[in-house]
């Protein structure tokens, strides 16, 4: 591990200034991903600016029914928050399906959004990786692809974003509040994470000294009937092969409204907008769910070794929509 300086930020603006002044600086919050990367040599900041004690750990209801989640709220606290459990169950379930009890107690909301891919080549500094070492090549292409993308990848990178929480937040149309030296701005979560393109070293649109201070969820009454399903190689404590966050509103046997996002399939939380379009206004039947999933996955370009994820994603979408429709007493036809 390369030696680094340490500084405890006095307030959010102080944190931003401290990182802006040093090109090699990084923010430290829960540290569950960063400290691991320091040990692995994946990253080597020369200054850590500790934001973990800043007063950014509140969860407040917003006028109009939304929810503001402080950047430093621990994953475990957010999952257990009474308002999240009742009004945004998909978010609670997504958080609870991620990592372990110990890690959720340390990991923060903003840190969860900004965690790096678990691509084995990214984490192994002895192998080429365009994300870790731009221009060095992608070892995953033609390599071990089980945990890699089937949507939106590029010839430079096929890594996926590992967060469960972010998938639920993407389905919920969350906004991220970002502080920079120019002041505060609002970034839709939809625009926060990037597709790899020819610059896979950039996970997000954030600049060096941008500090996430909060995430805001809109009031979304339909989210009360929502869930998150994660398919993985172990029953617990493993990253997703495929995951689905969904909310479904039925109107007399028809899909009134729907929110659908996928995890484990792309470089960013993947909003299944095409599937949503197919679903809205259509009868809430398994046939509809299948057609919608197929329409979304028509663009899938799996790698040799992860072709199975296309069918897995399709089946998981259908299963989750059936489950939600079943809660309305619908969607059980055409088994």
């Amino acid at each position: 591990m390369i030696p680094f300086d340490y500084r405890r930020a006095q307030d959010p603006a102080d944190a931003v200034t401290a990182v802006a002044e040093r090109p090699g600086a990084a923010f430290l919050a829960g540290g569950t991903n960063l400290v691991d990367h320091l040990k692995l040599g994946v990253t080597a900041p020369d200054l850590l600016v500790d934001v973990s004690r800043l007063p950014l750990d509140g969860v407040e209801s917003l006028p109009g029914g939304g929810l503001r989640i402080g950047a430093a709220v621990r994953n475990s606290d957010l999952a257990a928050h009474p308002v999240v459990r009742e009004r945004y169950p998909m978010l609670s379930r997504a958080l609870l399906s991620g990592a372990s009890g110990q890690l959720r107690n340390a990991a923060t909301t903003a840190g969860n959004l900004l965690q790096r891919t678990r691509c084995v080549y990214f984490q192994d500094v002895t192998t080429p990786c365009n994300k870790r070492d731009p221009g060095s090549g992608c070892s995953a292409i033609g390599g071990y692809t089980r945990y890699h993308a089937i949507l939106g990848a590029s010839e430079h990178c096929i890594a996926v974003h590992p967060s469960d929480m972010a998938v639920a937040m993407r389905a919920l149309d969350a906004d991220v509040i970002v502080l920079s030296q120019d002041g505060e701005r609002r970034v839709p979560l939809a625009d926060l994470h990037r597709l790899p393109g020819d610059a896979p070293h950039r996970d997000t649109v954030l600049d060096h000294a941008d500090l996430i201070t909060a995430v805001e969820l809109p009031a979304l009454p339909m989210a009360r009937r929502s869930t998150y399903r994660k398919v993985r190689d172990r029953a617990s404590y493993a990253f997703a092969l495929v995951s689905v966050a969904a909310a479904l509103e039925l109107d007399d046997g028809m899909v009134g409204d729907v929110r659908l996002a996928l995890g484990g399939v792309a470089h960013k939380p993947w909003r299944a907008s095409t599937a949503e379009e197919h679903l809205r206004g259509a009868p809430a039947t398994v046939e509809t769910f299948r057609r919608a999933a197929d329409a979304e996955l028509a663009a899938a370009q799996p790698q040799p070794g992860n072709e199975f994820k296309v069918r897995m994603a399709r089946n998981t979408i259908v299963a989750v929509l059936r489950e939600l429709a079943g809660a309305h007493g619908m969607g059980g036809e055409h088994r």
Binding site: D5, V35, L48, S76, R85, L96, A99, S100, G101, Q102
Partner: protein, 168 residues
């Protein structure tokens, strides 16, 4: 960069000057000779370094000591009341919840933290009703303890010990 810090471990205040790269785990083991938290994977995957940090279970291998100046830490060795074992410790002994014992201090700290979380009504991945009361059946115990690996495979008796710990 060297930084002075003070932490309380198992009730005793300990001051030292540490390199910023030092984890809480290494500070305890290498600097304070507190050997109860174990180094297994050193990457947050095995849970053997689990301690209670300001009352909550965390893996001490991914916590930088410098960021936890002033923290109150309880290790498995600090759970006993004199010669009287903590009920969870006693349950592990009674139920043979270990073989080699290397993961055991982490398992026990994790279990104590886990039982507090359940008491506070926190749901888990396998909880059907997110807003209902928590019933710590075997599926719940296994899910909530999935961050602690036991390479001897003593899981069956660990679950039995936890059932007992839950009752007490």
């Amino acid at each position: 960069m060297e930084v002075p810090i003070t932490i309380r471990v198992d009730g005793a205040e300990r001051s030292m000057t540490i390199d910023t790269r030092t984890t809480l785990l290494d500070a305890m083991r290498d600097r304070l000779s507190i050997m109860s938290p174990k180094k297994g994977c050193d990457h947050g995957q095995c849970g053997s370094c689990t301690v209670l940090l300001d009352g909550r279970r965390v893996v001490s291998c991914l916590a930088l000591a410098v960021a936890h100046d002033g923290a109150e830490i309880t290790t498995a060795a600090g759970l006993a009341d004199g010669a009287e074992l903590h009920p969870v410790q006693q349950a592990f002994v009674d139920r043979d919840g270990f073989q080699c014992g290397y993961c055991t201090p982490g398992q026990i700290c994790s279990a104590v933290g886990m039982l507090e979380e359940a008491k506070a009504g926190h749901p888990s991945h396998v909880t059907d009703d997110l807003t209902g009361p928590i019933d710590l059946d075997d599926a719940e115990l296994r899910e909530r303890m999935s961050g602690n690996l036991c390479r001897c495979g003593a899981y069956v008796n660990i679950v039995a010990a936890l059932r007992e710990g839950t009752a007490s």
